[in-house]
């Protein structure tokens, strides 16, 4: 399948390499040319310089035939917006957005965008590690804890 990854940071680049190793076609978008270096010399996929909320850029990356889209920029809002474009306009079947803010991640999950919040994941893992508890599932980590739910 063809996958489009927005953001060639550590996560985007690692994901891109993993997908390619698994035999899939990959395009990576980033607004900083230097970021593509993370893909290394053997990356066979396409790199597109630009921002992910610009549909011309998404089309160049092959969003129209993509079956997977991951938004992994450092900006939650860019990730949210591009994920929605991928899902609602281009009907990409599997769309995921990385969102640091747990409340925003929760809100957009309610709107039907799959989100992954590394904040909750990392904090939860550390907690279980400290308390010497067995690790839980991703879904369990992504559940918004009470302390964050109320201001």
């Amino acid at each position: 399948m063809h996958a489009v990854i927005l953001g060639c940071g550590r996560v985007g680049a690692t994901l891109g390499l993993m997908l390619e190793a698994a035999g899939h076609s990959v395009s990576v978008i980033d607004r900083d040319r230097e970021a593509f270096r993370r893909l290394g010399q053997h990356f066979k996929g396409k790199t597109i310089l630009g921002i992910g909320i610009d549909e011309d850029v998404l089309k160049k990356a092959g969003i129209e035939r993509a079956r997977a889209f991951a938004a992994t920029t450092s900006g939650d809002n860019s990730n949210i917006m591009s994920a929605q474009i991928a899902k609602v306009k281009y009907k990409v079947p599997r769309v995921i957005a990385r969102i640091y803010d747990p409340l925003r991640a929760e809100a957009y999950k309610e709107l039907g965008i799959d989100t992954i919040s590394p904040t909750l994941l990392s904090a939860g893992l550390c907690l279980d590690f400290f308390l010497e508890r067995p690790f839980r599932t991703v879904v369990e980590y992504q559940a918004l804890p009470e302390i964050l739910a109320h201001s």
């Binding site: 949210i80 474009i85 309610e110 201001s151």
Partner: protein, 225 residues
């Protein structure tokens, strides 16, 4: 009426100022401390420090009771998120988003944000109009129904000068609404007699601007290339 403005930059600042002058209750949310402090000096408690895309900030700024939220930051994606949060999480009745990339108008509408304002588009359409129709000046495009509000100054050579409005043949669905003569403004009705030098504000369908111009100014309609 309670309005929340997200973004305390130039647009947000002047918008807040105008709304406050109009007597509305306003909160302007700004995330940069330095900018917030300037806003606080001028607007006092109406300024709020925080990220207007965050649920908690919107809640604390009173989003649940807001009648309208205007997201006017310089970043389209931030404005999208603020508006979506306000609408879906807090059920704010009306949301308006500033957009910088005119192409995002369609995207925002697809994502549920109907009211967007793009200064790029406004200026572009003025330029477009200026090229086609130099003396009928577009004031605003009315969102639904493809109608435009235009302004035209009547020269001495206009065929409709010294005539009553009811005797003038205007293109279909064009209405002469307001007349500015000297320092006075008056609503136009059928008995109003137009004079040279009058400034007319009229409503005309977008497709009939050229015909409207011909009716008002007497110039031959040039067929578009």
């Amino acid at each position: 009426m309670y309005v929340i403005v997200v973004g305390g930059g130039k647009v947000g600042y002047y918008l807040t100022k105008a709304l406050v002058s109009a007597g509305l209750e306003v909160t302007v949310i700004e995330k940069q401390r330095r900018r917030y402090e300037l806003l606080q000096e001028e607007f006092g408690d109406a300024a709020f420090l925080g990220d207007g895309c965050e649920v908690r900030t919107l809640e604390q700024a009173g989003a649940p009771r807001a009648d309208l939220l205007a997201a006017v930051t310089g970043d389209d994606e931030d404005n999208l998120v603020s508006c979506q949060m306000a609408k879906r999480k807090f059920k704010v009745k009306r949301v308006i988003a500033r957009i910088n990339n005119p192409k995002n108008e369609v995207t925002f509408q697809m994502l549920g944000i109907d009211e967007t304002v793009s200064s790029t588009k406004l200026i572009y359409s003025l330029i477009e109009q200026e090229v086609e129709v130099a003396d009928v000046i577009p004031l605003t495009a009315l969102r639904r129904g493809n109608l435009e509000l235009v302004e035209v100054a009547l020269p001495k050579t206009s065929p409709i000068v010294n005539r009553r409005v009811r005797d003038i043949a205007l293109p279909q669905n064009c209405t002469l609404a307001l007349l500015v003569r000297g320092d006075d403004a008056q609503v136009i009705d059928g008995d109003t007699t137009l004079r040279a030098g009058d400034l007319i504000v009229a409503i005309t369908p977008s497709g009939h601007v050229l015909e409207f111009r011909a009716a008002m100014l007497g110039k031959a309609i040039t067929t578009p290339p």
